[in-house]
């Protein structure tokens, strides 16, 4: 599904990803954890194709093709979906209208007929039940005036409608109340299929109580420094990152930046 090899990326001359390797097979759920500023969102943005993030080295294969050659919209139509850490507001653009346009782009790309407004609406109603999203949100402009939690839920709702092959969730859990967290996690689980994969960026173990990952990776200073099973997330919850960093520094005695603000 996804194969990232020795990925280096920078933004405005600042090196952020420094040789990242990650392989995701179809049907797998991977979690990425790591202290603030370690490069998690950068990885997500690079995979989605944001052009401010410049890839200086390495490659990314997506279903055997070079992902980095594709424009962001081509990646999206090929099934790469990013649930943003900070979803933007698009004033005046109706949510349903927006989502229908996106949905039909994907259909067109697959050579499938576009859905008309009526058929699309019934599809939307279907998906809405899964996430218990209030209908009123969909009659409003995209994310405009949505609460933080509503924005996150709306991201997952869009994911439910677009049915991506590779979904990247960037801190979708932060800002959600306890009930919303459960709903969103259940929604994500229902979207899991043997032929699609999920990459979940989070700071908290509690999301992983619901969405059980096959692998947990720790990203630090632009590299994955530890990979484990779901157990690793529990360890991190209990002990923080410090022990890991000690272990990491012991292995690589070269200069490591200090870790201010890591939990």
């Amino acid at each position: 599904m996804l194969e990232i090899k020795n990925l280096h990326a920078q933004v405005e001359g600042k090196k952020i990803l420094k040789g990242l390797d990650l392989t995701i097979q179809p049907g797998e759920v991977h979690a990425i954890m790591g202290p603030n500023g370690s490069g998690k969102s950068t990885l997500a943005q690079v995979l989605a194709g944001r052009n401010e993030y410049e890839v200086t080295e390495g490659e990314v294969l997506y279903n055997g093709h070079n992902l980095l050659d594709l424009e962001p919209e081509e990646r999206a139509r090929e099934g790469v979906f990013l649930a943003f850490q900070y979803p933007v507001e698009i004033p005046g653009v109706n949510s349903t209208y927006f989502l229908k346009a996106a949905f039909n782009e994907v259909r067109k790309h697959r050579g499938e007929p576009e859905l008309d407004a009526l058929d699309f609406l019934s599809l939307v109603k279907e998906k809405m039940k899964v996430l218990e999203l209030p209908q009123s949100l969909l009659n409003r402009p995209v994310n405009e005036g949505f609460s933080g939690g509503e924005k996150k839920r709306n991201e997952i709702f869009q994911m439910a409608v677009l049915e991506p092959k590779l979904a990247i969730l960037d801190e979708t859990d932060s800002g959600l109340d306890i009930d919303a967290l459960r709903l969103v996690a259940e929604g994500v689980n229902k979207l899991k299929r043997p032929d699609n994969s999920q990459l979940i960026i989070t700071h908290y173990q509690r999301l992983l109580d619901y969405i059980v990952p096959d692998f947990v990776h720790v990203l630090y200073d632009g590299k994955i420094i530890k990979t484990g099973g779901k157990r690793l997330a529990l360890d991190l919850e209990e002990r923080g990152y410090d022990w890991l960093l000690h272990e990491y520094r012991a292995q690589t005695p070269s200069q490591q930046p200090s870790l201010a603000g890591a939990r």
Binding site: A48, P91, G92, V93, Q158
Partner: protein, 482 residues
Amino acid sequence: MSTSTETIEQFINREYQYGFVTDVESDEAPRGLSEDTVRLISHKKGEPKFLLEWRLKAYRYWLTMKEPVWPNVHYPKIDYQNIIYYSAPKQKTDGPKSLDEVDPKLIETYKKLGIPLREQERLAGVAVDAVFDSVSVATTFKGKLGEMGIVFCSFSDAVKEHPELIKKYLGSVVPYTDNYFAALNSAVYSDGSFCYIPKGVKCPMELSTYFRINAVDTGQFERTLIVAEEGSSVSYLEGCTAPRRDTNQLHAAVVEIVAMDRAEVKYSTVQNWYPGDEMGRGGIYNFVTKRGLCKGVCSKISWTQVETGSAITWKYPSVILKGDQSVGEFYSVALTTNYQQADTGTKMVHIGKNTRSTIISKGISAGRGQNSYRGQVKVMRSATGSRNFSQCDSLLLGDKCGAHTFPYLEVKNTSSTVEHEASTSKIGEDQIFYCRQRGLSTQDAINMIVNGYCKEVFRQLPMEFAVEAQKLLGVSLEGSVG
């Protein structure tokens, strides 16, 4: 940021799709302006004496005036002696009596512009007056409207058939002394539309005028006069295009609206004159005076404009709220790209008691476009209990364009309230990326964001035209038709 700016700029270079020229023989006045030109135009139109006198007074007054310099627009001095003031496609007969007598080339031209003149082909419920250079070439649905007592015809026909109405209302809202371009128009205007809605009649269809400049170096000076009698209502739409040429052409129109007691007039404009090329060569100078008079109690005049064309736009559709409890509205979307300049806005003059006005202005600047909003709200001492709300938003695409806001507020009594809100925002790279991440192309993303921003104004347009306006904005923002 530089890369993102480039992406945006790539998508605002547009193709003007109405730039073709129709090859028709025309009957033109010689270049230049003098009393003789004025007499010639009046003669060609077979006008009554009072009109010629009025034109001459306007011309003499114009000679004493100076071109205004206060708008925030810049252009080389206009040589008024190098303009052709009258150009009409040659007709075999005295002027077409029916569509069958109209030159097929003209009908073809309007068809290409998306304005089929054959009545059976028309969108159900829209009557059209087509003005080609200086004259009206066809007016549709005249008969059907006539049965209800509605007069909808070219200005020239109105002069012949209803001289008393013209005499009564011409210049009653915009006197020729009003401003430089209004005076010029009054002297040399050649045609336009006239519309009269009798007492109590609700006009059953949209009325529209379509202006087309075709001939080279001609100015277009048309007049529109709409009179809505007590308790009547009408919705009116105006569209405009011109061929692509390297030289600038002048369009100086006057629109006057009179609304009596409880009458409602809605005037919508989709202005798409040739804007000049991407280097700023050519394009129409659109210097227009539009004003409505809410003469009667509870009358209402509403202006909605979508301005995407012209090299320079200078235009302030206004409402004089004279009748008690009358209502004035102004909804505007003005787009400037490349080297276009727009100085537009409105004037709301509150005279009657408990009058209300609303102003919603959405400026969009891209490329090197310069967009100014200029709005005046004047509440006279007599206008007690009046209210105004103004909202002026500017959207910038790229970093070489500009947006300016000049609000003038004047309130002469204490029981009235005036509210003004303004904002300037940049189209966000974040917003575009968000859309692209969902599978939309950059073009579609920009269109969607800009259309969302204009929503409040588009909502005011009649349904079909709202769709048109959205498409037009799309085309103006893109390289190709969406």
